[in-house]
Each structure stands twice: as C-alpha cells, then as structure tokens.
C-alpha cells in the first residue's frame, strides 16, 4: 500500500551507491584536471587505463563468484577505486604496474573479502601499496611539474613511455624524472641540509611544492563540494587535516629548521586527496560520527610520523590502511547514544 504525502515538504533522499559514487567522481574532477595540467597526459592515460582494468577485474570476479554483473558494474565503485589508484601513482608509470596494482586491489582487496561493503581495507590504497612495495624504482619516477600549455611530453610520447617503456630519443630517465617536494625534503634533511635552503629551490612554490599546492587546492575544492552535497561528512577530513596541522605545527614551533611548516604539510603530496576522498570511504573507514573524527585524526598523525621519520616520503596510503585496521575497534567504542537510552546499550531508568 502506498500513502500519498500531502503536507510538509518531504524530501525523499535518493541515495544509491551509483549516485554517491557519481558525485565522488564529480568531486575528483578539479583535482584530476589540476594534476593533468601540471603532470601532462600521463595522468589522464593512467586514469583511463586504471578504470578499464578495474571494471574488467570487477566483471571477472563477479562472474567467478556467480554474482549478477550488471548492477555491480554500474554502481561505479570500481571506477572510483581505479580512478583513485591512478591519481596516486606517478604520471609515467608503466602500464603493467597499473595492471598489477588495480587487479590486485579489485580481486584480492575487494572481492576476496566479499565485494563492496565487506572490504576491511580501502582497495585503491591496497593496490597502491602493493605497487609501491613491489616496484620501488618505477613508483618513484615522478616528473617535475610543467604545464599543459608547455608539456614535457606530447600525447604520443606519453603513450610510448607508458605502454612501451620508450623514452623519446636523447633522453634518459635521470634527465626527465625529479624528486617530489616531499622526497626532496626527506633526503635533504637526511644529509643535514637546512630546510630553508631546500625550500629555496625551484621545486617549491608559495606554500608547498610548485604545482602540488594547486593540485591540493583543487582536491580541497572538490572535497568541499562533496561536503556541501552531503556525500561525505565533515568529521574524517577535519580530523585528519586538524591532527596533521596540530602535530606538524607543534614540531615546527619547536624546530623550524628541521620540520616543514604545517601549511606545507597540508598542501603537499596526497594530503587533501586523502582527507576528502580516501579517509571518507564509507566501507573501510569508521561508521560513527565520533569514530570518524578519531579515524581521521589517526590518519593525520600517522601521515606526519611517516613523512617525518618513515622510510617513505609520503604516508597517506599506509596511514589509511593502518587506521582501516583500527576502524572496527573505534566503532565499538564510539557508538552514539540511542534516543531514550542513557549510554551505549543501557536502558533509561527514568
């Protein structure tokens, strides 16, 4: 039986996985465009390749698991996972790394655990970590930021590098690649260079790495739009960025020559992408409001620890995976009070 509602403006929320994922993709557009602007065609080629591999692996796993293919393929969750993976890897990554990383992410990290909604770890980050651990040399081949108006490589050159591993004639990998700002700071501080001298190089811009600050700003804009559309909640990003700001601010105040300033931390590497698009994953993240705040704060803290004292220059992926492990425990201790009850599970006596 259907009841017609006449009075009061009832808004029926249409929230399907497909719709949420589509909006997340819209939110990713500004950041992706900024990355493509600074790092060239390779970013877009990687996105296309990773999304194709993600969809193909998802379809294959659904067939193997004898699940309906169409409804799960069209929910766009595989597209988002592939897209996030492509944004995490260097722009000239060889195609087989994307293939291995995304296929592992979809097959092992997602479907072996039961598919969408059951995976304890963020599939895109698992794929990235598999790639970064297994192929350490290729996964550090970042190029210095240029602009699309004056790209380092033409479209066909980019295709040649990614799919055939052929650099344009007369160039060597040492000549075209460059450390990321975070890499540069970590290696510079490691050999005792003062921070001021490191940040004086053309690799750095106004507040963070040249190019990277704009990319992070674009991801921030996309994330704020998602927040405005209520696709994500504010707790996880606020927790992550707040914790990262506070802890890095504390160390910066203690020793400004050895620790980059908090703004640099917020606008470097994958900080904004991680805060708004990865720490907010509804499946592998925390599910309670307070829990999300804690989850985000944990990610921010771990990102600072890994960046400052870890073996890797950027730690968002590792931080998110470590906190994914904590999420069920966090959820258990942060369950909100049910209306009519005093505390978790206790009947209201009054």
């Amino acid at each position: 039986m259907r009841f017609k509602t006449f009075t009061s403006p009832h808004m029926s929320p249409v929230r399907s996985v497909h719709r949420v994922m589509r909006q997340v993709l819209y939110g990713l557009l500004p950041g992706t465009a900024a990355m493509a602007w600074f790092f060239g065609w390779g970013v877009l080629v990687n996105v296309l390749l990773a999304v194709t591999v993600a969809l193909a692996t998802e379809a294959l796993m659904l067939l193997l698991r004898r699940r309906p293919v169409r409804p799960f393929i069209t929910d766009l969750s595989a597209v988002v996972a592939g897209w996030l993976f492509a944004l995490a890897i260097p722009p000239l990554t060889p195609w087989w790394i994307t293939l291995v990383g995304v296929a592992f992410a979809m097959a092992v990290a997602k479907h072996l655990y039961g598919g969408l909604g059951y995976n304890p770890f963020n599939p895109a980050m698992i794929g990235y970590v598999v790639a970064v651990i297994s192929f350490p040399r290729e996964m550090t081949l970042w190029i210095p930021p240029g602009t699309l108006a004056d790209p380092a490589f033409t479209f066909s050159q980019t295709l040649g590098i990614i799919f055939q591993g052929q650099l344009p004639a007369g160039l060597s990998w040492d000549a075209v690649t460059s450390a990321t700002p975070l890499d540069r700071i970590q290696s510079g501080l490691g050999v005792g260079q003062p921070l001021g001298a490191i940040q004086d190089t053309p690799l750095f811009g106004f507040v963070a790495g040249r190019g990277w600050e704009w990319i992070n700003l674009a991801f921030l804009a996309g994330g704020l739009w998602l927040l405005h559309r209520r696709v994500i909640t504010w707790q996880a990003p606020a927790g992550m960025l707040g914790a990262l700001f506070l802890i890095s601010g504390l160390f910066w105040l203690m020793d400004p020559a050895a620790y980059p300033d908090p703004l640099f931390q917020l606008f470097s590497g994958a900080a904004m992408l991680g805060a708004f698009f990865i720490a907010t994953d509804p499946v592998s993240g925390s599910a309670t409001p307070g829990g999300r705040l804690l989850f985000g704060a944990g990610v921010g803290l771990l990102v600072f620890i890994i960046r400052s004292w870890g073996a890797y220059a950027e730690g968002v992926a590792f931080a998110v995976l470590l906190m994914n492990m904590m999420a069920p425990t966090i959820d258990q201790y942060t369950q909100p009070r049910v209306f009519g009850r005093r505390a978790r599970g206790q009947e209201d006596q009054g």
């Binding site: 651990i133 297994s134 192929f135």
Partner: protein, 229 residues
C-alpha cells in the same frame, strides 16, 4: 585409532590432515622459509628427518614413559634430534645452513612434531609411527615447496634458484628461468606474499575438497536411484 590402515595414515599426512594445510601447525617456518623452492625443500626435509627420528623414539619408549612426565620426555627427545640435525647440516650443507639460520634450531618448536608424538607415536607401534612421520613430514614438505615455488616464480621469475646449496655444484644448471628479464614482484618475496600465498593454497585445497564432496554426493544419489528404476 591404532586400527587405522597404512593407506589411511599416508592419505591423512598428505591431504586430509596435512600439517600445513589442515592442522595449520608449524606456520612460523612455513611462512618464513618459503621464499624459494630450495630453501623450502631444505627445511622440509630437515623437519621430516626430525619427525621420523622423534616419532620412532617416542613410539619405542611409549610403554615405559609414565603419562605424568611424557611431555618433558618428548621435548628432550625432539631437542636432541634437532641438535644433531643442526650440527649435521652445519657440516654437510653449510651454505644452506647459513641461509636457513635460526629456523633449523627452531624446528624444535614446530608444533607439528610434538603434536605427532603426542597424538600418534605415543599410541602406535613403531612401523606405524614411521609411516606417519614420513607422511606428515613429506606432506609438510610438499606444502612448503608448493608455497616456495609460487613465491619464487612470482617474486623472481625463477624456479630452483641456488639449487647447488642442496645438491652440490652439479645442480647449478637446474635453475629454471621462467621469464627472461623479469623485473621482480617484491610483494611475493616479502612476508605478505607468504600469508597471501598460504591463503590461496588453503582456498585451493578447500575448493578441491568441496568439488570431490559434491561429486561423491552425486554418485551416491545416482547409486540409490538406480535400484528403484
């Protein structure tokens, strides 16, 4: 218990009650030493030898050991056997001994060995204990080698690399290079590869069992239907 046939004992060791795949005993060496086929084979055979010696000794003295002190006695026997094997490996397979390192003395803590002593050898005569030790040991070795092969092929693109450590200089040519110019897949070589690989082997075994079960059920159903028609 003691009426189990030899055939059953062998089938249990290799498949139905395999230490690596079903009892999940001795996982520490299984996960740590399965980086290459040769390492896996070396540790597997050392474990098998220990198992044979300890099972035979425990079975031989089973009627004289009081139940109250049986565990310390088993531990003493196993520790002595492992010490002897460690010294022997140090003498005859020195390079392999250096690679396997701490995991040779650690055979003493492999639960599969004391498990067989307690669950089987202490209740069965020596011939049965010997067959059980061989079946369990070789079953464990088979899992180790399968995992080692999987990890070595995926991680380095080779099989039987460094075979000379075990079989002498003649075996240098044994190394198979599966993929020329392989870039290496470090994940398979590192500890996560061991866990993922063992998980896949477990899943494979369960899938095979399920398949066999279903086929047997179908055959039973067909057998019971036929007389009626």
């Amino acid at each position: 218990m003691s009426t189990r046939s030899y055939r059953r004992i062998v089938a249990d060791g290799f498949w139905h009650n395999n230490p690596g795949l079903v009892q999940l005993l001795g996982l520490c060496p299984l996960l740590a030493i399965s980086g290459t086929v040769v390492n896996a084979l070396g540790l597997g055979l050392a474990t098998t030898l220990t198992l044979v010696a300890s099972n035979l000794s425990v079975s031989a003295i089973r009627n004289w050991v009081r139940p109250e002190i049986r565990i310390p006695v088993y531990v003493l026997i196993i520790a002595s056997v492992v010490t002897a094997i460690e010294l022997a490996m140090n003498a005859y397979f020195h390079e392999l001994y250096l690679i396997l390192g701490i995991f040779i003395p650690l055979i003493v803590t492999n639960c599969a060995i004391i498990g067989r002593a307690e669950a089987f050898a202490s209740k069965n005569p020596m011939p049965r204990a010997l067959v059980d030790a061989l079946a369990m040991g070789l079953g464990f070795t088979a899992v180790l080698v399968a995992l080692g092969g999987l990890r070595e092929a995926l991680g380095q693109g080779t099989l039987f690399a460094q075979a000379h450590l075990m079989f002498g200089d003649m075996a240098r040519g044994l190394t198979l290079t599966l993929v020329e110019d392989y870039r290496g897949f470090l994940l398979a070589v590192l500890p996560p590869g061991a866990f993922i690989g063992l998980g896949l082997l477990l899943a494979l075994k369960n899938a095979v069992d399920e398949h066999l079960e279903r086929r047997a059920a179908r055959r039973r159903a067909a057998m019971t239907e036929q007389p009626q028609t």
